[in-house]
Amino acid sequence: MHFLDAVRLALQQIRAQKLKSGFSLIGVFIGVMFLIAVVSVVQGMNRYMTDKFAGTLLGVNTFRLRQFPDMQLGNVTDSTWRVWQRRPRISYDDAQAVMRGLTVPVVTAWESSTRATLSAGRHQAKDIEVTAATDQYFDIRSLTIASGRAFTAQEVHAGVPVAVLGYELASKLFDGQDPLGREVKIFDLPYRVIGVVEKQGNLFGVSLDKFVVTTAAAPVKRYVNPPRVVDALAVKAATQTDMREAMSEAEAIMRSRRHLRPRDGDTFALETADEVLDFWSKISRVLFLALPGLVAISLVVGGIVIMNIMLMAVAERTREIGIRKSLGARRRDILRQFLVESATLATVGAAAGVATGIALAGLIAAISPLPASVAPWSIAVGVLLGAGVGVVAGVYPATRAARLDPIAALRFET
């Protein structure tokens, strides 16, 4: 018997017994559905972390020179923390020395941040991230100006009190009116709004559009840091290789400035998006490790159910098997018929699971801050797993069917 004939026969059988088939493939259905949904969400988070988190928040091919890492992932012990706090801060001179010393072509910016309440007229916005930065900050963070303009190097040098607002902050403070040229107060000091940044959206439900950027030498600096100190020097290179090279140059410059001996550790931090992505990949690895267990349980249960259904089918169709054998079906024909039927049953369940899993992932993405992105490989894995479970579950019933004695099977009364 040809394979396609066997599949057609199996589909006929499933259609003839819709309810029974439906129940029998529920286990596989659930297993595959979870597989697809979980993989989609994890995959979505992956993409989010690499594109948005690493790209937007930290910048591509960018590292930062800081007193200690900004992204504390995992546990930082109290003693480590105390050591970090005792480190010298990054001074203007440090930053300038590094900027001058780098031979790799890079873009640099000073950044210092704090949180403050902003006001414009009667409107107030609390707990807004205030950053004092140099002009290339926007380039490093890949922030596009939606209206108005960014500040210039001259404005930075002169310490002109101008501000560029995040999209949501702008609409909150100015109620949909054009904010350009108007005044916002940060720490009760007036700034002129010269630009609004394009909408960035959310990251895990937190808005990325509530921030204000001012010039590094603007009056706000004294609220942000002690004199002549910055939070970070951000350095963006064209490629990953350039970035690595710039990092080692920066490390050498800083070590010599701080007179560190070869055995001393760094008294500063060079932070890249890699740390964040490493941390995330640890989390997603844990999820991916737990997932097979969950899926396996459903699939094993599903397989047992299918095996039972197939054993019932073999018993019910003993006569049919006898007839087929009397007409020339060999053992392997009968074996294949029932294996294909079992596999088809499970594959139908898996296909339904794939469809529902995709829908479920979409639903999760719609009603929660978790993003979702369906991974094509997970669909393939889901369907193959389903078919595999069907084949494995079908082996025993199909073997029993194939071994039936044709005479006894023909005489069998149902």
């Binding site: 009397s326 024909d333 044709p406 005479i407």
Partner: protein, 243 residues
């Protein structure tokens, strides 16, 4: 009709002998005792013979039928079918022989209930590995030849007993077997329908088909040209009837 020459172990049957059994025996081990269903049956059937096998229940005619139909293998003795010694073939080889050489017609029809008449007739061709088109054409042809050309899409439960048996006959013949092997073909039919089926057999025999029919009804056996009677696992009588 004279019997051909005596067959001895090591011989090969003559070319026109379709069925040859030589000292065929079949024992069933029932645990506490061994049942000797066949105790040494030797007979030969030529091409285009029409033979009825008779005997009371327990005489071994069903066992003989199973062995001739290659559903069962003998415990001892030889069985040659169409020039091939089949008594020591494996299961799968027997399946192949059943597919190519034997057309079964059963008392209970043994059609697949959910399949159409056409699909039922296609079954032997599926196991012969025929393509879908060949299957369809030949099954339709076989059904037409038994007068069911207009019932091809009917399921067995939409057909009368006589029609079902004709579907079974079409199925038996679709692979052009060496023998048509019928087991009580009229056992479930009324007498009018029975004689219809006997007419079909007569026609097939007239076209050159070798027919072997197991029955316990003397008036059905009367349609055959030769009657073999079994008793206690041995041939009791073997007589040709006047044409």
């Amino acid at each position: 009709m004279s019997q051909p020459q005596e067959f001895r172990t090591g011989d090969t049957p003559l070319p026109d002998i379709v069925i040859l059994t030589h000292k065929l025996a079949r024992d069933y081990d029932m645990g506490s005792e061994v049942v000797h269903a066949l105790r040494g049956v030797s007979f030969q059937i030529r091409r285009n013979e029409y033979v009825a096998v008779m005997g009371p229940s327990g005489s071994g005619k069903s066992t003989l039928m199973n062995v001739i139909g290659c559903l069962d293998t003998p415990s001892a003795g030889e069985y040659w079918l169409n020039g091939q010694k089949v008594s020591d073939l494996s299961d799968d080889e027997l399946a192949h022989i059943r597919n190519k050489e034997i057309g079964f017609v059963f008392q209970t029809f043994n059609l697949l209930p959910r399949a159409s008449a056409l699909h039922n007739v296609e079954l032997p061709l599926i196991y012969a590995g025929a393509s879908a088109k060949v299957r369809r054409d030949r099954a339709a042809e076989a059904l037409t030849s038994v007068g069911l050309g207009d019932r091809m899409d009917h399921k067995p439960n939409e057909l009368s007993g006589g029609q079902r048996q004709r579907v079974a006959i079409a199925r038996a013949l679709v692979n052009k077997p060496s023998i048509l092997l019928a087991d009580e073909p009229t056992g479930n039919l009324d007498s009018a329908t029975s004689s219809e089926i006997m007419d079909v057999f007569a026609t097939l025999h007239g076209q050159g088909q070798t027919v072997v029919m197991v029955t316990h009804e003397a008036d059905i056996a009367a349609h055959a040209k030769r009657v073999v009677t079994l008793r206690d696992g041995l041939i009791a009588t073997d007589q040709a009837r006047a044409a």
